[in-house]
Amino acid sequence: MKPRTKRFLFVLLALCCVGAASALIGKAMKGNLAYLHTPEEVLAGVVPTGQVFRLGGLVKEGSLERSATELEARFIVRDNRNHEITVVTKKILPDLFSEGKSQVSRGKMGDDGLFYADEVLAKHDAEYMPKELSDTLNKEHAPAKGSSKDTSKKGTY
């Protein structure tokens, strides 16, 4: 065997190992990497009490309430199987935060069953669609429902 062929086989072997490593890490990354927990997991008791974690899910339509006197907001986070958790936060909500959209908040469950968030982040749509265009599309496809297109759709979180 020529030394060049040997080196070629060595590099090929290394590439295979790298590919295998990548596939294994990718497989391990399923299970969310514990980046966030869904309301369903939290209600099932997956998260130990008193631990800080991220709660992911959609903001339930019509659930956002702001306190009249202080900077406090409450909203309900739900998942696709309608498990719900109420989130309480005193932080400023980001620009993209809105009802029917995904959010990720970080905090702890309180003894009263409410989730106290130190940070609330909004996720954006993976759809890059101009507002005017998406409004027209909504009118054409769902004239009865009006503009609330998110209620019928399953969101990702």
């Binding site: 490593a21 990548s22 980046y35 869904t38 909500l93 620009d95 909004a122 993976a126 890059y128 979180y157």
Partner: protein, 254 residues
């Protein structure tokens, strides 16, 4: 017709060829980047269905992020050629690519942070996509550091080439971090890549800017490769016979 692929693997013939190509790549880079950004800033919608004007950072963010990952693959390609064929120029191109790749990674992280603050509400979060991309930056820096830590050029080339090869595992993971078949399995803050769902006008801006970034990467990589050639081949006669080297020596003497 048999093409002699090895002809341009000699630094002596690569050096003048690169010198001729660099201005062409610069012109293409300027034309495509300005064109893409013009299209993106003035010819696309002001408001998306959830984001406002700030979404326009996408043209720089996506282009640089793609280039950061692509240049890593290119770097590994040169490193592998170097390992197999023991060609000096392959290693030189690998190390020239690494610097441009690092720059692209930093641009992608910085624009991502600015975009994240305005839309998500935070500059940084330890989300799978963001974290793996930060590791990509560290691998680039590790490659450059390892190469400059070993004095012997041949050994430093080989060692850093192996490091680059191992780091290749990261590229599919960065992609996979947000693009698994079942979206609930890899929940993250960063949205998935969704070229199909991007409006075509915005997509044109993105793709044209990306071509511009690519041309910029070609130009800077070749420029850096030429400098590395001069540095490593400085004791050869062809380098000392180069007009630019001769002239500068005359200047120093006089």
């Amino acid at each position: 017709m048999k093409i002699n692929w090895f002809k341009y693997s000699a630094p002596m013939s690569f050096y003048p060829l690169a010198g001729k190509l660099i201005p062409l790549f610069w012109i293409a880079a300027i034309v495509f980047i300005l064109g893409g950004l013009y299209w993106g800033f003035f010819k696309t919608a002001d408001v998306l269905n959830d984001q406002k004007q700030y979404y326009r950072i996408i043209y720089v963010h996506v282009s640089s992020a793609w280039m950061a990952m692509w240049l890593y693959v290119v770097m590994v390609f040169w490193a592998m050629l170097g390992l197999i064929f023991n060609t000096r120029l392959s290693y030189m191109l690998a190390s020239a690519t690494a610097i441009t790749g690092t720059v692209m990674t930093i641009i992608a992280l910085a624009t991502g942070a600015i975009w994240g603050k305005t839309s998500w509400g935070t500059y940084w979060d330890w989300d799978p996509k963001l974290t793996t991309f930060l590791i990509l930056l560290f691998v680039y820096i590790g490659y450059i550091a390892l190469q400059s830590a070993i004095d012997d050029v041949r050994r430093s080339d080989k060692a850093s080439a192996l490091l680059a090869l191992v780091g290749l595992a990261l590229v599919p993971i960065i992609y996979y971090a947000v693009n698994c078949p079942d979206p609930t399995e890899c929940a993250s803050l960063h949205q998935e890549s969704s070229l199909k769902r991007v409006e075509s006008n915005i997509l044109i801006g993105m793709l044209v800017t990306t071509i511009g970034f690519w041309m910029y990467c070609f130009a800077t990589t070749l420029m850096r490769a030429r400098i590395i050639v001069l540095e490593r081949e400085r004791s050869t006669t062809w380098v000392s016979n180069l007009p630019e080297i001769k002239d500068s020596e005359v200047e120093i003497k006089s």
